[in-house]
Amino acid sequence: MGKRTAAMRTNGMSGHNQLAHHIVGPRVYVVILFALLAGTGLTVWASFIDLGVWNPVIALAIATTKAVLVVLYFMHVRYSSKLTVLTVGAGIFMFLTLISLTLADYISRAWGNW
């Protein structure tokens, strides 16, 4: 895949802050790739089986697991600062707030089709 160049040594990194530029290697990526592919197969297979109310739960659980893997490893959050984790958390939290408080209204209406 092309020879390593001297650029690797003068990578713009000053020696003391390796954590911020932790280089994740191909092995991790390949493992995650196969996990994601397996998850996809699993979720499609599960959708063809009648599990009643658990179907959407399982589908979302598998989707979330895949998403978590992408976030942690492909997007390097596993190796990132607390600030990054906080930022991701804030986004997820607000997303869930909008959905849950809005749905709370719809669920609790006396009229409507719940």
Binding site: N11, H21, I23, L37, N55, F74, M75, F95, L103
Partner: protein, 251 residues
């Protein structure tokens, strides 16, 4: 301790010789610049999450109100194309991550290869989406454009779908709500596709720059941050696939 003036000498300016050309003047170091760019990209992705959140909210509400219509609607989507698209995007995320590794380790040709593969896969995704959309247009399942309830009040008029799922005919008022399903389908996948198109465009530009060695001589920030964007798009699709295609394939 003696009081020191506030405008003390802070960190001295780096000598101009060791100052890379891509370091912008309001930053003190390359580190600070890279750190800042990464954080800014994450914040931007958070805004994107919130942008999509309204659509997910709408989806969840109407799926629960009109479940039979949503089931019938999702049967009209070909799960094979959807699965293939999911696999395409997952592999493209992998090639993108590999591209980041190449950039970080100075592998110019590897980076170009990875970015090109990612771009190709992205185009493949869009191609499949085009096929799917065309099919929807042919069957008059596009809201607002001669939307037809035929497939839902009389499922047997669609032999391929009927043979797989044996849907019961929907009563007319529930059949009408399939239009909501397709509105959300087109909105969500359309918004997603728009983001893909932008991503593919940026990728094309990046491939040119990568060939010139722009990202493999120490300044891999762009590749890293674009990777974040690309993975985000992948994550959105993971959820869209689960929610739109896999509602209930067991009938």
């Amino acid at each position: 301790m003696p009081d020191s003036p506030a405008i003390a000498h802070g960190a001295p300016e780096p000598a101009h010789e060791e100052h890379p050309s891509y370091l912008r003047h309001h930053f003190n170091s390359v580190e600070q610049q890279a750190d800042t760019a990464g954080f800014a990209m994450w914040l931007f992705l958070v805004t994107e999450v919130m942008f999509f959140s309204g659509l997910f909210t709408a989806y969840l509400i109407y799926r629960n109100w009109y479940y039979p219509a949503f089931v019938a609607g999702s049967h009209q989507l070909d799960v094979r194309w959807g699965t293939l698209n999911t696999l395409v995007l997952i592999v493209s995320s992998f090639t993108m991550a590999m591209g980041v590794w190449c950039a970080q380790t100075g592998r110019r040709r590897g980076l170009v290869l990875c970015l090109s593969l990612t771009c190709l896969l992205g185009l493949g995704f869009l191609g499949i989406k085009t096929i799917e959309y065309r099919e929807k247009i042919e069957k008059h399942h596009v809201p607002g454009f001669h939307y037809s309830l035929q497939s839902f009040v009389d499922p047997q008029s669609e032999p391929e779908v009927y043979s797989e799922y044996h849907d019961k005919p929907l009563p007319p008022d529930m059949a009408r709500h399939t239009e909501l399903y397709f509105s959300l389908y087109f909105l969500m996948t359309g918004m997603h596709a728009a983001h893909m198109i932008i991503g593919v465009g940026i990728l094309a530009f990046m491939i040119l720059r990568a060939r010139a060695g722009a990202y493999t001589s120490g300044h891999s920030t762009y590749v890293l941050n674009f990777g974040l964007y690309w993975h985000f798009i992948d994550i959105v699709w993971i959820y869209l696939f689960a929610l739109l295609y896999l509602i209930s394939r067991h009938q």
